[in-house]
Symmetry: C3
């Protein structure tokens, strides 16, 4: 017996309603052997930028071939398109609204099709819940062996992009911003390991944020005395600001968009 | 190999505690091959009416034969009965406290049994957590092929009902009420597609709610300019009130129980 | 075909981020046939004592052989150790920081190994997310048949312990404290069925808490008139304080740490 297919779900549906459960019901009805994994249903409502970055940051944990379904979809039912795509070692199903932007920046796009075939839709198809009526059945059929070229027409034009926070890098600085806090109050930033020179020892970096000067990039949350503001590499390769045994997010001057600058000595 | 059985869970257990996880542990211990799907665990504590309607609205997404377990059970351990039932194309396990009311209104009840056999209970059986000790093991045994007549004695008398919000329909009006908001701040109402004449074009309906007059029933959330209060058909066939790029639930005069009237021209 | 292995997850990761989803991605990539159950991801951040007791209280619902993964891990990346253990009829993977304390008190520890082998780690291994990079892959490999002695070196010294709330028992009293509320506002206490004499009828116990005197231990939440403060045995064998159709947790003088005393007549 071959390994069961894996489908992951990333949405802004939350957990109060049954939207995520209905998606699972549809998927399981079409492919009872698939493994469905909730990546998260707590993207803030309609926050495509946060969905895009959060999605890209989580992919490395999944096996090749995983079908990742993303639904942050304020334009559901309008003329916005929907797509399936093979990008990097994974497969994706999503609205064409920018949700795939950060993923396409990091991994090569092999093929994209537009989901314009009625046959893979749930009937009747609502105009308000394509997560259940379009994206879930497409993912389920794909997981059963339907090929991507059967799912829709090859898309030649680029997908819609959302503007992502940028990092300005010089020989001795990288300037980015705070993105958002995680559950622990750690502040995720736009700066990644790729933005800093690998040859510089961690203790030689200086991080400046909202008047705070941090010396060195720590290895883990417990590396500094309780109460210290520290910088460290988070588990997805992003620079994080954290307070040992506390919450960096509780600092009133550290917010989404607050500039963060890392400086290092000329090698 | 036949398809694995599907069990869905709808409860008011939330996610802070391990109650839902314990239900899954019991089910998996008795039938390791079953697919368990969380429909939602966030029914407000002991809100049987909301549980009943939410449950009925989500069922269409599930394959025939799915065993739906519902636990909103303030009377656990008292003399309230517990039942298993075949209703429409699905199977149900629930307390006899009204939680099945909306489902029985919409689909035909084929058979109901009272769960009065000790052999299907987890031992020892607590008086405070029948979700784990009664409903979960019954569902697991049922999913393994135990027949409904083995689960308990045929129940001849009707199940207990809770009063559901009604809709008053005339030749030119349907009068209902706001039920509750979803995650996005859309307000779900008691009015369904079945309450309105199918022959009238969507733009000829007028919706009145708390002094607001809405012209036409929109197709999707993006159909109106940002900030507009609009009415549209939600994904379970209920009329919803929404604000494009906003939250109808943030309007202070739109609350659970607020009257909503739809009016249309005489055909 | 033998039954699929079961892995349960208890963490303080919450659900806003993708941490729990990434753990599932790693596990499924290594063992696609495993059943993964979320016990809870809502242990308050870094609250090892609450994690320890919550974990021990939920285990009885799971089949023998279940691999329970616990991650409440403020010391991730520091010199704290990580272990796999066979305790009672189950298997465990956790940091060595006290999270297994309550479990070791209740069930016999058969064998403990230190997770010091590079081969079972995800590469590269972060210093900030051992839930994904160490505990999940170890659990997945263990579930595929790797033996515990292959997972690491036998640990001879005792595990680190956290101080647990104690119960002082005399011939006629048991004195403990309130631990925390559950979702329903019921207050879980440190007093368990094992602390009280089994021969005394329930109605002969007297419970004193913050100036309230409760006569008898009720069987279930519906046993008293609405609004009454009652004491009863919760589903994990702990004494609970509850208010019928209300919330004991809404009482301002009932808090974590508030003393609770049970008194009974000399047999």
């Amino acid at each position: 017996m071959s390994a069961p297919a894996v489908i992951s779900l990333l949405t802004d549906f939350g957990d109060q309603d049954t939207y995520a459960g209905q998606m699972r019901g549809v998927i399981t009805g079409l492919n009872p052997d698939v493994q469905v994994i909730d990546l998260t249903h707590h993207i803030p409502p309609q926050d495509i930028v946060r969905g895009a970055i959060t999605w890209a940051d989580a992919l490395d944990a999944f096996p090749p071939g995983t079908i990742h379904v993303g639904v942050v979809d304020p334009g559901v039912g309008t003329s916005r398109r929907a797509v399936a795509a093979e990008i990097g070692p994974w497969r994706f199903v999503a609205p064409d609204n920018g949700l795939l932007t950060a993923i396409q920046v990091r991994w090569p796009t092999h093929v994209v099709v537009e989901l314009n075939r009625e046959e893979w839709r749930r009937k009747p198809t609502s105009a308000t819940f394509h997560g259940r009526d379009l994206f879930s059945p497409v993912a389920a059929h794909w997981s059963r062996g339907v090929s991507i070229s059967e799912l829709g027409s090859i898309r030649e034009t680029p997908l819609i992009e959302v503007p992502l926070p940028t990092v300005a890098v010089t020989d001795v600085t990288a300037a980015g911003e705070i993105l958002w806090p995680d559950r622990f109050g750690n502040l995720i930033t736009s700066i990644t390991t790729a933005d800093l020179p690998a040859a510089i020892p961690a203790e030689q970096f200086r991080v400046a944020v909202a008047g705070n000067a941090i010396t060195g990039i720590s290895r883990c949350y417990g590396d500094q005395p309780p109460g210290s503001l520290l910088a460290l590499w988070g588990s997805s390769g992003r620079l994080e600001l954290a307070i040992t045994n506390g919450s960096a997010n509780a600092q009133p001057n550290l917010r989404r968009g607050t500039p963060v600058e890392v400086r290092w000595p000329m090698p």
